[in-house]
Amino acid sequence: MSQDAAHHAPTSTGIDHKKLIMWLFLASDCMFFGTLISTHLLYRKLYPTGFTDAEGHQQFVQKLFNIELTSFSTFILLMSSFLMALAVSAMHKGQLKSFRRNVVGVIFFGLIFLGCQVYEFTHFYHQGLTIQNSVLGSTFYVLTGTHGTHVAIGILWLVMLYFYSFTGKLGGHVGALDVEVAGLYWHFVDIVWIIIFTAVYLVEYLGPSGIWGNGLPVLAK
């Protein structure tokens, strides 16, 4: 038996209800993001031409994306996940100060990630990619915007946990469990980005004209 499984909660499954519900929620959120990613890939395949800017010029995604910036924000989110794991570990050991230090790091990294996303969205908007002017804009902003909203909710949750830790009520097994549940949510946000980074950003750079090519929409042929 695994180490954590040995700590049985007094429930019929032996798993604490908060943790069980969080995993159920994450499983359902998998389907939610699965649908959004499928939609984006499908429409990228059907409409590989990118988008037309306000002046009527054809724009291609490969030139629009900034892979250095996206790689940096991916690295930041991965490291925030690492700090979150340390924060959870600190709470299990009852080290409240260590928990606070790590959680401040997670919040800081999360804010950097959101800052990068805001910069990226603003840059794309000024380049002519809006949520209304192309299929690419619609699917891209909805997918990455939904993920960004998840990150923002996670940051809010962690800020509340941070301040709650000063009340003296965040301690013991229950406190550690609360932090662990918040950690599960944060790690989930990270794994979703791992998929988005590959499926939305990296695939655009495969081949001389991107994996989707630069041809006309397939259905219009």
Partner: protein, 110 residues
């Protein structure tokens, strides 16, 4: 068993995990670096796509198994999450297949 003994055991377990987390974080950063280098290599798109998908899957499962404690936790939680993941993947495959039959050219795979 006294509470003090349990605490010592927990601290020992968490200290061991601390080192695993650091190692994993380094691996995740390294894999992300490899992914970025890969996309600029003159290799066939299909090969690169397969390798990128594999590396993403490795990062994905590394995070859920270690950072999310699935490897330490009850098996039920793994299967619960895996069910959602399988449904998501099935939806993903079904959507792509539905719109593929006879309508999309194969230059995508060239």
């Amino acid at each position: 068993m006294s509470d003090a003994v349990i605490d010592q055991k927990t601290i020992a377990i968490e200290t061991e995990r601390y080192h695993h987390f650091i190692t994993l974080a380094l691996w995740l950063a390294a894999i992300t670096g490899v992914e970025i280098v890969l996309i600029f290599l003159p290799l066939p798109a299909a090969v690169l796509l397969a390798v990128l998908a594999l590396l993403s899957a490795v990062k994905f499962f590394a995070v859920i198994l270690w950072f999310m404690h699935l490897i330490y936790d009850a098996r039920l939680l793994f299967w619960l999450f895996f069910a959602g993941l399988a449904l998501a993947f099935a939806t993903f495959t079904a959507v792509l297949m539905l719109f593929e039959t006879g309508r999309i050219d194969t230059k995508w795979f060239a």
